[in-house]
């Protein structure tokens, strides 16, 4: 686990668990805001692609496991205890993921359902984007949840000198 990480030249202390939890909450709030913005704006427009790029950029801090600039160290490193914690975090995260994909599948079902052609055109437009917004949300969750669990559950650490 890192005790600090650098963002735009600013060193942020993440040794305390409370601080890490706040940071995770902030990142997820940003994810939600970007996803909702993508949903309301046209996802296929240039703004939509920019929002998507912003999501990918944000995911860099908490997603994956090999980013040097991320909040947690590379998954290939670490001692036996850290590996055990990560494996357990992956197990915990995985148990909820099938449910995360359900809303997107249901939304696709509604979109292709027989009654959709009678809907208001504005509602139809939003329903067309809804599955994709939900799918992006599920993928973000998939990509970031184990790391978020590790960050939120690891105890306070001593600050590096």
């Amino acid at each position: 686990m890192k005790t600090a990480f650098v963002f735009l030249g600013v060193r942020i202390n993440i040794a305390s668990r409370v601080r890490r939890r706040w940071l995770v909450a902030l990142i997820y709030a940003a994810f939600a805001a970007l996803d909702i913005a993508w949903f309301w704006l046209d996802g296929k427009s240039s703004i939509g692609w920019l929002l998507f790029a912003a999501l990918v950029f944000l995911a860099r801090f908490i997603g994956g496991r090999t980013y040097e600039g991320g909040l947690i160290s590379s998954y290939e490193g670490g001692d036996e205890r850290e590996r055990t914690r990560r494996y357990y975090a992956n197990y915990l995260a995985y148990t909820w993921l099938d449910l995360a994909f359900f809303p997107a599948i249901l939304a696709f079902g509604v979109l292709h359902g027989p009654d959709i052609k009678f809907a208001n055109p504005a509602v139809h437009l939003l329903l067309e984007r809804l599955p994709w917004g939900l799918l992006i949300g599920a993928v973000i969750l998939y990509y970031t949840l184990p790391q978020a669990i590790v960050l939120c559950t690891e105890p306070d650490m001593e600050e590096a000198p």
């Binding site: 055990t84 994909f101 599948i105 696709f108 292709h112 027989p114």
Partner: protein
């Protein structure tokens, strides 16, 4: 971890048999999902667009969903009728390590799959959306099956042969 001696009459203490079962499961799932896309009748069932009006459409949709749900619970998740029937039960230390490591590996594999998958979806649906939109449901269901069944598939695939009980 693998508590059952047989599944559907097939002894699963031997790794070779387990691998056959895993391959069979994925073939059945893929055939089912392909039939949803290419067979108009199956597609109608899934979407509730049954030719006759009234109760037949919703009933057919529910039946298809139940069939699909039953199929996936043979390997996905942890159910009494599934190949792996204990996940949080009284597992020993080794079993817990194997379970957690399998989920870690499933994550790693899925991460390799999800980005090409998302790219294909974005390109296909971003350019020729109206023509291929019916692909969305089977592709999403395949994605869901992967999430639901991958750790279990890995455990059944890699766990060594087990000793027969005395």
């Amino acid at each position: 971890m693998i508590k059952k001696a047989t599944y559907l009459g097939i002894p699963i203490r031997r790794r070779k048999n387990r691998r056959w079962l895993v391959v069979s499961y994925w073939i059945v799932v893929l055939v089912f999902l392909a039939s949803l896309h290419w067979n108009p009748a199956m597609q109608s069932l899934l979407l509730g667009r049954f030719p006759s009006h009234g109760w037949a459409g919703p009933v057919a949709t529910i039946l298809t969903s139940v069939l699909f749900g039953y199929l996936t619970t043979c390997l996905g998740g942890v159910f009494e009728r599934g190949m792996l029937s204990e996940w949080d039960g009284p597992l020993d230390e080794r079993d817990i390590r194997v379970r957690n490591a399998a989920h870690f590996e499933a994550y790693r594999i899925f991460r390799m799959i999800i980005f090409p998958f998302a790219l294909i979806l974005a390109v296909v649906f971003g350019t020729v959306w109206s023509h291929y939109q019916k692909l969305a449901a089977p592709l999403l269901l395949l994605l869901w099956c992967l999430v639901f069944s991958l750790p279990q598939s890995l455990i059944l695939w890699f766990e060594p042969d087990m000793e027969e009980p005395q």
